[in-house]
Amino acid sequence: MTAYFRSLAARFFYRSQTENELEEELRAHIQLRADDLERLGLTRSEAERRARIEFGGRERVKEECREELGGNFIDILMQDVRFSLRMLRKSPGFSAVAIMTMALCIGATTAIFSVVDATLLHPLPYPHPEQLVRITDDLPSVGAQDVGMSEPEWQDLQHSGIFEYVSPAWYDDNNLIMSACACQSLDRGTGLFCGDRSKTGAGPHVSACRSFAWIYRGSRHQRRALEANIRK
């Protein structure tokens, strides 16, 4: 492994030194070969010429050596990336269309998956969550929003026939004891409280309300435990 990192460093951090050493190594090879040829009776210049011819294309050998250094795939990858960027710059119209198409597709897919995930894969733990709506009261004449609702108004909504059931609802922070999981644990969670539908017609008093649906900010494991508890 250390040999590989050293080879990697030779490629990326000591590039010029590696090049020089490679050049020197190949030159030494040719000189050594020429020495031998000279010993066989050739003149020095003829021996060097022969040695160079025997060795063949030095640049090709160098290139093959470079390829054997560690991290060759990084170099190839960088070449590919540079090439693709050049091509994208060359035809900006095509690039724009391609990028927009991909952005749109990814966006649409994510959006669809988010909906599927929320409604089909992790639906809220009560029937027909898609029919659940939140009603707020605004007073546009005085510029007030979500001002709350009077009891007669609530009763009106309840008896309007539009909704199956209308209940006051509010968030609250509570300590939760989860006994559904094997280990009993105490946790702090935010719950959404609303009235029990068996209490239809009763005043919206806190005492008359029993929590049946929670939106709990916790781990999925904890939420499962909680949901199981609520269903009981």
């Binding site: 492994m1 250390t2 040999a3 590989y4 080879s7 050493e21 490679l22 020197e24 190594e25 190949l26 030494a28 090879h29 000189q31 050594l32 070969r33 020495d35 025997e54 060795f55 063949g56 294309g57 090709r60 050998v61 093959e64 050596c65 390829e67 054997e68 250094l69 560690g70």
Partner: protein
């Protein structure tokens, strides 16, 4: 000529390891040593040697250092690492098994059944 054998793919690395195991060598020395120990039967293309040496260094089987040749030229010398020694042993065993298997297969005679 005549008694030269063609180098099988993958055997160059093994030959280099073997040549270097007999003592540190520079690139040209590796070529001479392989020629010598193979009885001049195996000739390595000069250019093919260096990529193989670089590969073996990268794999940690050889380590390189600069030194002086016999005739006082500066050259890069290669020697075996302990990992390289182990690899040479393994590859030699593997090669011997292969050769024995092929030899026995080729020596088979037609048999009465």
């Amino acid at each position: 000529m005549g008694n030269e054998a063609e180098l099988l793919p993958g055997t160059l690395d093994l030959l280099i390891l073997k040549a270097v195991s007999l003592g540190p060598l520079h690139g040209y020395g590796v070529l001479l040593r392989i020629g010598q120990i193979s009885g001049r039967a195996l000739l390595i293309e000069q250019g093919a040697l260096y990529p193989a040496l670089f590969r073996l260094v990268r794999q940690g089987l050889l380590k390189a250092s600069w030194g002086k040749s016999d005739n006082n030229r500066r050259a890069k010398f290669y020697e075996l690492t302990s990992k390289g020694r182990k690899r040479l042993r393994e590859e030699t065993d593997g090669w011997n098994r292969l050769v024995a298997a092929i030899a026995s297969a080729l020596a088979a005679q037609p048999q009465e059944t």
